[in-house]
Amino acid sequence: MAASSVISSSSFLCKSSSSKKDLGISSFPKSSQISIHRCQKKSISRKIVSVMAPQKDRSPGTTGSVKTGMTMTEKILARASEKSLVVPGDNIWVNVDVLMTHDVCGPGAFGIFKREFGDKAKVWDPEKIVVIPDHYIFTADKRANRNVDIMREHCREQNIKYFYDITDLGNFKANPDYKGVCHVALAQEGHCRPGEVLLGTDSHTCTAGAFGQFATGIGNTDAGFVLGTGKILLKVPPTMRFILDGEMPSYLQAKDLILQIIGEISVAGATYKTMEFSGTTIESLSMEERMTLCNMVVEAGGKNGVIPPDATTLNYVENRTSVPFEPVYSDGNASFVADYRFDVSKLEPVVAKPHSPDNRALARECKDVKIDRVYIGSCTGGKTEDFMAAAKLFHAAGKKVKVPTFLVPATQKVWMDVYALPVPGSGGKTCAQIFEEAGCDTPASPSCGACLGGPADTYARLNEPQVCVSTTNRNFPGRMGHKEGQIYLASPYTAAASALTGHVADPREFLQ
């Protein structure tokens, strides 16, 4: 729904009038922008059989039996809108499989739903809505607490099946339903399935694209509309392809990959577009690493990110849900608006310097930057593997951190893993033990935490103009609280290394 169409009107070619005459449709005016495919058989059909944007390297079709290639995203949206074919630029009504909301936007979304559909209205499907309080939870802020109460009321009234409630704010473990950060919880609870359409009232909903589905963020009004109808009006995005090949170096993580890409194309480089990631490196990534990659698609302006599902995906998903699903894949002859190739074996750890996610720099070139604190957490960098990575580096270094190091597991499950899972190569120690030995803060209650600042009493909030290395996703002015705070976005390895040196540090100092 862009004011300026992503596909320029020149992509709709107008064939010369002579070919139109060959087909005997001379009554078509020249100003018509319908492109007509020349039939290669002897008998020429006079019917308009297919009207679409011609693909550059595609030979003219005949009677529609030659299929036009579609990208993964196009296929997902076509199926969800009950069409056999869509092309970028189409405005279509799409059926929604899952709608997610949280404590910040949920009250507003439901408020709009009731205002527009009536006080007695019922949601379109109480089993397709997932309500996950996660943003402003562990705070004394009355309005924040009120919002969770409001969501509880709505969920009761509407019989919402999946409401991961929290009532005891003093002890997160006392809440059996509470999960934590919505995007991680969605995956862990089996709500992410290949081929589906997942919408959420949060910009990082694109994280779920790691599962080979169409997942994107929407506002309260759109969500209110979906609550009532189960549909949304979407414009089909064109796809940018990112092919990452090569063996992933041991000191590199998915966060480095996405920061590399955003630095390459800028914060508006993928606006309104799909970012499709493939290649041998992608295939070697775990689901959590793939989630990190797709999570920051929105930081490049992207509409959604996708990764083709494979055995890794199916293994993860089938262990968590019994809902049937059908993955789709980009056709060989699909059209992409851009192709980027990376030899990952040549990449180095990077950071995004203040104050933009595309302000990329090599970590080793920032080693003179003195820092005040380190934050490891959020949907981007607060998953189990993120903490395992940080713990691995701390253990390899055998030193203590030089600055306050805040750890905020994304969900209850992650918190439990931090305290229960042994870190490989550490002789059976858990992340929690290693963190304690390194002098980090005790892992905190799982939530979005200080990633976006939040109420003044939020744990680890930047309340002074300090320099912070963070595994989060944005570093615009004021993002973590104080307007003059300086945030360096980094991978868990880089964050841990920086904590040990008290400066922005390249993890190779401790990992090789």
Binding site: S4, G111, S203, G454, F476
Partner: protein
């Protein structure tokens, strides 16, 4: 008017299809196997309208209730103004659909701007802004999907944003809520205007708009709204969907558009 109408009401397709041979037409898609147009209002499965910019501009006959002329002071911003600068996340506890919360959001609009910007969009102690038009650079509204961003600007009294380009979710939220008009400039107006300049935004018959800066005596052509036009004209996604027959009329007394 043909284009907007058929976009709003798929059942109009049938009557227009036969008359399209002799007049400039929008794109429309036909299934190779269907000889009849089967339009179901809820799924519109066989129709996908692709409106070219030229087609929109030639047929817009002025169903432009919401396309009023805006006149007032402008507030100038630069590139990549993200949602946390528009409304810091700490105010995210306010619920935009509650009128009192919405008013409060207005009072905090653009509170997150760094010191680089000398003027305050809303003076301390005030609830509304004296600026009606916000001028921005590239990628305006990047960051979060939180609707608090366009809502606070609308609540503060701003009528339109004129930016070089928008981030997707923010633009979409402007269109869906009807809170503030998102317009696109063709040049970097933000480099040629200063906060406090007196401007007028006029909407022309061909669908495009014009920004007139009375202080510098310069005019700038703005881009037509494109596919978002019909939704904005209707007054937001709900009003648009009602016109298209996708949802029934509101049973509550509140009006559909939140502006």
């Amino acid at each position: 008017m043909a284009i907007s109408q058929q976009f709003l009401n798929p059942t109009l397709f049938k009557s227009l299809a036969s008359s399209n041979k002799n007049s400039p037409t929008p794109f429309f898609r036909l299934k190779s196997t269907s000889t009849t147009f089967n339009f179901k209002p809820l799924t519109s499965s066989s129709s996908a309208t692709i409106i070219t910019r030229a087609a929109v501009s030639s047929s817009d006959s002025g169903e432009s209730k919401s396309r009023e002329t805006f006149h007032g002071l402008c507030f100038v911003l630069k590139d990549n103004i993200d949602t946390d600068q528009i409304i810091p996340a700490e105010y995210g506890t306010l619920i935009p659909s509650i009128p009192e919360d919405r008013e409060k959001l207005g009072s905090f609009a653009l509170n997150g701007l760094p010191k680089f910007y000398n003027e305050r969009f809303v003076e301390p102690g005030e609830m509304k802004s004296k600026y009606s038009v916000i001028i921005g650079g590239d990628n305006f509204g990047c960051g979060s999907s939180r609707e608090h961003a366009p809502v606070c600007l609308g609540a503060a009294g701003a009528k339109a944003v004129v930016a070089e380009s928008y981030a997707r979710i923010f633009f979409r939220n402007c269109v869906a809520t009807g809170e503030i008009f998102p317009l696109e400039s063709e040049v970097r107006i933000c480099d040629e205007c200063k906060t406090g300049d007196v401007v007028t935004i006029e909407h022309k018959e061909d669908g495009s708009s014009l920004l007139i800066n009375h202080t510098t005596r310069k005019e700038y052509k703005l881009k037509p709204l494109g596919d978002a036009g019909p939704v904005i004209d209707a007054g937001g996604i709900f009003a648009y969907a009602r016109k298209a027959g996708m949802i029934p009329s509101a049973s509550s007394a509140s009006s559909a558009s939140s502006a």
